[in-house]
Every structure is written in C-alpha cells, then in structure tokens.
Assembly symmetry: C2
Homo-oligomer: 330 residues x 2
C-alpha cells in the first residue's frame, strides 16, 4: 500500500488538520466528534444544510462546506458511516433557529445513523435520502439505489436556496425535487485501497473495467473489456438517459466526475464525448461540472450525472458559492 | 494501459474539444495549431501572458487561461514541447498592442521553441524561464533546474499584474522576481503511462518512492523505501527551505500539489504536516493552495512549493481570477 499517510488509524483526523490549516477563513473543524462547519456557523435564522458520510470521497463533503452550500459535514472513517453523535454535534453547532436539513446518501448505515441523530436533536430536523445511481437496485451496503454524484448537485442547489432564506419545508421539498430529477452511473478502471484495510477493495484484470461501480467499490452491472472512451460514455449515458428518462428538448446539467485517480485530461476528453452524445439526442447541456468531486480514493474511473434543469434550478446552481472545492460569484 | 481515451494519437485534440464544451464562457480553442485563448482575446492595451508546454499536466496550462491569469496556453502532445507555430499563433491571437510575455518552464525543447516563436512574432515579445525545482541541477530534458510548481504561482501573480495594466517590462521583471523567490520539489509513489507510448515511463518497486521526481518522470535524487507522510514532507521541505533559503520570520505561500493520481485526503494530510513543519521553523504561511494543479497524468505523488511573500505578491495572489481551475473574487 503506497499512500501519503502517517498511520492508517489516524488518516481522517490528520487530513482534517490539513483542511483546517488550508482553509482557516472558510472552515472550522471540531475533532471529537469530527465535524466540519462553516467558519461563521451558526448562521442566525438560516436553515442548516448538513451532510456527511464515509471519508475517502473528497472533496465530498467537507470541501463543500461554506457560504451557499453546506453548513456542516460529518466525516466518518474511510468508507464508513459517520456516527450519530457526529451528526448530532453538527446539528447543534449549526443551529441558527430555523431547523436543519440532513442530506443523506442512500447507504444503510448512513440512513440509520442520520435518523438516530435526528431523533436526538432538540431542534427541528428533517432528512432527504439521495439515491441517484441507476446501476443496480440493491447493493452491498444499500437497500434500493445508491447515492452518488447527484449528491453534489443537491448540496449546491439546496445550499443556495437556504442561503437565500428558504425555510425548512421549502429546502426539504427542493432536495426531493432535485433528487427526483438527477441520475448517475459510474465505471472503474482500477480498484482502491482503504488505508486501515491495506489491500485493494476488489480486483480487476489488466484489460477489464467495471460498469456501474459503486463509490466504495461495490459491484456494478458487469465487467467488460476496457473499450474506447466513446464506448465508456455510451455505457454510462444509455442507462442514465433511459432511466428518468431524459428526452429531446430537455435542458440539463452534465457532471463529468473523476473517481480520484483519473487525470483531468481524460475527464475533459470524456466530457466532450458526452456533450456530443447528448447533442445528437436533442438534449441541451446548459450547465457543466468537470472534475473529481465525489471520489473513491485513488480509483481510476469516472461517473456521469445528468440533472434535468428548469430556470429555478439553473438559477440556484449559478448562485454564489464559497467553499474549498466549489467557488464562484464571490 | 487503462485510460479513458479513443485513440492515443488524438488524445490532446479530443480533450481540447471537451475543454471547449465545458467552458464556453471562458475559453476559445483553436485546433490547428492547438491554442487555448481567453474567450475575450485579444484584450486591447493589455500585455498578453502566454504559457504552454507538453500536455498531461492538466489543469496546467489550459486550465489557467482566463481573466486575471493567462491570455493563452499552447498544449503540446503529451509530455512534448509545443511547436513554434503554436506559440506564434498564440501571440497573434492575443495581441492587444502591448506586447506578450512568454512564461516558459525550463525544458530544453520548450525554451527553444518559445524562443523561435518570439523571433517570428511581429509584436514585442519577451520571455521568462521558470526553474524552481531544487531536486537536481541538470536532468533528462533540461540544462539547469526544471520548471515545476512555481509555474502556477508565476502565472497567477503575473497574470494579475497584467490585468491591472502593468506594462511588458514590469510583467517581465515581476515574473523574474517571483521565479527568484519560489522553490519546489516533488516525489512519486507510482509511475505514469504516456498514451502514445503505452508503457510506464519508469518503474518503481512496490515499497519504493522516488524523491525529487520530475513532472515527466525524470529521475530525482534517490529512491528510498516508502516512509510516513511526515518523512515525505521533510524529504521535500528540507531541501526547499535550505535552498533559497527560507528563514525564520519569512512570510510564504505554501502550495501542496498532487501529481494526478493521489487522492485529496492524502494531499490535505500532507499539507497539515507541512504547515506544522514551517510553523516550527518560524516561517509564517499566509496563503495556501492545495490540490492537483501541475500533474503528471495518473502519477501518484506530490510536490511542495514555497514562495516568499511580500505585500505586493500577496495582493496579486489575492486579486480576482476567473479560469477553469482557479477562480475567486468574481
């Protein structure tokens, strides 16, 4: 195992120290339990938008904490759900008197622990479960569909609404609406190694890729020989487009995401193919995001996410955001 | 070779199509010869800041084209110098009547081809060679020191000055001053594969890392067993600090750069250690940049760059920038 770490048991704490050092103006990190909040939390009168999950998917979620996106993130151990007391501490630290919305990726442990935290909280807490991965119905750690790239878009759009003063019910409804309008699928060219495990999460042959991979290396739909970038894009977009479905005349946001170990030159190459694929089908790409935003450690691969846009969602996407990983308009 | 590509021979062109699709508001891509310019080029009365080099180091340089940074970038084939006609086309496309400054990483082919382009140009052209890598004196493709992470900082700071209206002589002097104040060194945990070569650029044993690696996989100072993150940071910062030297009381920008395949969680972890290392020596980190900004395809590893700051350089660093990879203040 080749990693830039000191001790597999302290990777998350050590990385949090670096995040705090790197972004003193944006973030405030608490270590026990581990919670990353906006530096100016709590924001009086504002709904707190909170997410979290296992570490190893950076910049998700800690890199999305800041004005216009998340009020707090709860980083679990690598590929491990955060504990209820982490989530409860995040709710307490960001309580501005307007309640909290928990954005939860659909993994059984996450759903359970966020739910327990909501029950513990003294303030009003609601949660929305994100399940945008069309690859498989049930999975290794999940009943129903997994939450993947759509999470980034939900966090940005709902974060913008909360920043503008939307109340808890409106934020909850918006999160459900975005989740209902977004679909994703990913593929892996290589595996990844969880530090405290020390061996690869799965094995792929030298000429093989996994279509429909989960962000923790959960099995997808099939293993096939590595094809061209055009074949890869079609293998992801065919099921994504068919699922919602996305149709001619639709306006979309296209999110081309890297799994962590894939170079940016390959992501841009895939993005160009995906844009051409959608143009051929009369689907208009109006917004884009390209880069490694929801990753699986050093895994090579990508995921493609489509969100059906209307003027409201496009406007909330464009709204100012000031976080370590997404920043514009400020 | 597992890559998201269609054809090893068209990787750069195909990726440029994706960049153009992803950033229609920021960039204008010309394909023959390949040049990426600001969408609003040429900017009347402004010194054009132009860089370029082999592809495979994304987001460098194309990801730094935009307001407040580069006017144009010339992407060569992967790990191959751009041709003189690419650079000449960039000079012509961005000619606002105030001359052009070429920022050239110190690799023999780059220096030669940018020089030839300067001689071809009808407008006034100067160039500054960047050579911040303290690892080795001469290298596989270089006489003297290599240009690495410091390039990102030179491009940002000189780009800000040009945007504010600095003339060609002032931009040239500033680029030389930043280059004289910046030092870097990198390490690799794994190799990388150039698409049109198809085999890894070098081999590293399962327990080995290369200290002082070049961004094209050029040999560094030594191969040693993979150590802790603290040992890695010291192996890079000891020679960087000793070289300028950086001393107690200095104000610095610390740039923790990923080589492409290293997850962000490891970069943050290393960044935290580097901040503590510098604090112990009385060196004050006033600005930070953490992420994969000058990469070597899918190589795992990192580099650390230190820039000695004063109020002028800090102010130019903070100035608004609007590019695909760096964006703030707008």
């Amino acid at each position: 195992m080749k990693k830039i770490i000191n001790d597999p048991e302290t990777v998350v704490q050590d990385a949090l120290r670096g995040m705090q050092a790197a972004h003193p103006d944006l973030l405030s990190v608490r270590y026990d339990p581990a919670v990353i909040t906006r530096a100016d939390a709590p924001v009086r009168g504002k709904v707190a938008i909170i997410s979290g999950g296992g570490s190893g998917h950076e910049p998700l979620h800690g890199g999305f904490v800041g004005r216009g996106m998340l009020d707090a993130a709860c980083p679990g151990a690598v590929f491990t759900s955060p504990t209820p007391d982490q989530v409860a501490a995040a709710v307490e630290a960001t309580d501005g008197g307007a309640g909290a919305l928990l954005l939860v990726k659909n993994y059984t442990g996450d759903v359970m622990n966020f739910e327990m935290a909501g029950e513990l909280a003294e303030s009003e807490v609601r949660s929305v479960v994100i399940d945008d991965d069309v690859a498989v119905q049930d999975s290794l750690y999940t009943a129903g569909r997994r939450g993947v790239g759509g999470t980034v878009l939900v966090e940005k759009i709902v974060g913008a609404a909360a920043e503008r003063g939307a109340d808890l019910a409106a934020c909850e409804a918006l999160a459900n609406r975005v989740n209902a309008s977004v679909r994703s699928m990913g593929l892996a060219l290589t595996s990844c190694t969880v530090p405290h495990v020390g061996t690869p999460s799965f094995e792929l042959a030298e000429d093989e890729m996994e279509i429909g991979i989960g962000i923790h290396g959960e099995p997808g739909r099939q293993r096939v020989p590595v094809g061209s970038a055009a074949e890869m894009v079609a293998a992801l977009l065919d099921p994504v487009v068919a699922d919602l479905p996305f149709a001619e005349g639709d306006r979309v946001l296209l999110f081309t995401n890297g799994m962590g170990g894939t170079p940016l030159i390959e992501l841009y190459l895939a993005h160009g193919i995906a844009e051409a694929y959608l143009a051929e089908r009369g689907i208009t790409v109006e917004r884009r995001l390209v880069g490694p935003y929801i990753t699986s450690l050093e895994m090579q691969g990508m995921s493609l996410t489509l969100l059906k846009l209307d003027d409201e969602l496009a406007g909330l996407w464009d709204a100012p955001v000031h976080t370590p990983a997404l920043r514009w308009g400020v």
